[in-house]
Symmetry: C2
Subunit: 212 residues, 2 copies
């Protein structure tokens, strides 16, 4: 039982400790740090969070976080709008953007299929992905979901939905849609000794031609 | 270089990442967590912090955090008001209260003397401690400062100030003030093997009579 000297302090600690991965000791340390800051800095802190919560939107096309109705990536004329990279969340968009290796556009699902957590296809932005394929003349869908069971399930579900879409297409000209996924194998810089057995085993089965 | 999809998001991440011990990845995770919460919960979060910053006070007597002008401990009739425990900060009051072993009152210095960080006696609540001794008829001062060089320096400084006070006392009856400090030695539950050499060495020199 912690004995807080002030109810105001205790309320603030309770709120900060409700954040994921923040324990009560850390919360107290953070709150006492804020208490030592000047009034205007604490106001800047709380108002940045309030404003973000009130004003941030989700892009109408790709469902990434955005300040406007359509995000800068979907608006950009320098991106390849025929290639969609499907990701789980906003952080994944940022990670792929940071590589500088992708010039297409995104589609943020908002999660992966996980029956254990009650997340089915209807809870995710999968219908809106399927609806983009024909009108936007998409040529490639890159499935960039996590290499977990849930990620694989979601990959397979989207793959099947895309196949259905292509088969039910009543246009005279057949659609040529490429569906790809991220390469999986030994991470760059890793020793084989410390690579897990499943990854290493699949890396042998799915070996690629050496082109020196 | 991180590429944030929204300036509002980036501002919120910058603010959270300015907290001590919170990196940019953690800050992004926390901010996206808040973004997924209902509006009223985010408001409860920010307003608990704002209210604490605006309304929390420091007790006029012991300088602990308090909701009122005088903290509950200093107001309590069930505490021993002749025994002052001198601590570095608010967390230390909470730690000692949690032991349930102390029934006296506190004095929070707000830090320890640390010339390297520009903290001298004038930056701390030392004068206000000295001024409490005679009017409150204090019988014991317990120095409960950290067992570091800075803590020891502060202990010694307060000890000298208290000695000066007793010597300059012009009353006919001499004051009987006990000055004590926390016991130092091997922590309860610790193996000698893992106790540092300085602590173990001092524990031998300052051994106590076994009264098992």
């Amino acid at each position: 039982m912690d004995s807080y000297p002030s109810i105001l302090l205790e309320n603030a600690v309770n709120q900060v400790a409700s954040l994921p991965g923040i324990g009560r000791k850390t919360a107290l340390r953070l709150v006492l740090h804020l208490l030592r800051q000047p009034q205007n800095e604490v106001e800047a802190f709380t108002s940045a969070i309030s404003r973000m919560k009130k004003e941030v939107r989700y892009c109408r096309i790709c469902h990434n976080i955005s300040d406007q109705e359509i995000c800068p990536i979907c608006q950009s004329h320098r991106r390849d709008h025929q290639t969609i990279c499907v990701v789980e969340n906003v952080q994944d968009v940022m990670s792929i953007e940071n590589t500088g290796q992708f010039t297409g556009v995104y589609h943020v699902l908002g999660g992966v299929i996980s029956p254990m957590d009650g997340i089915g296809p209807k809870e995710l932005e999968i219908d809106s992905l399927i609806e983009r394929i024909l009108p936007e003349h998409i040529q490639e869908v890159i499935l960039a979901l996590p290499a977990t069971m849930e990620g694989d399930t979601t990959n397979f579900y989207i793959y099947r939905r895309l196949q259905n879409l292509l088969e039910s297409n009543s246009n005279e000209t057949p659609i040529d849609l490429k569906i790809s996924q991220l390469a999986r194998g030994v991470a760059i810089g890793n020793e084989l000794e410390y690579t897990d057995e499943i990854t290493l085993g699949r890396s042998i089965i799915n070996r690629t031609l050496f082109n020196g």
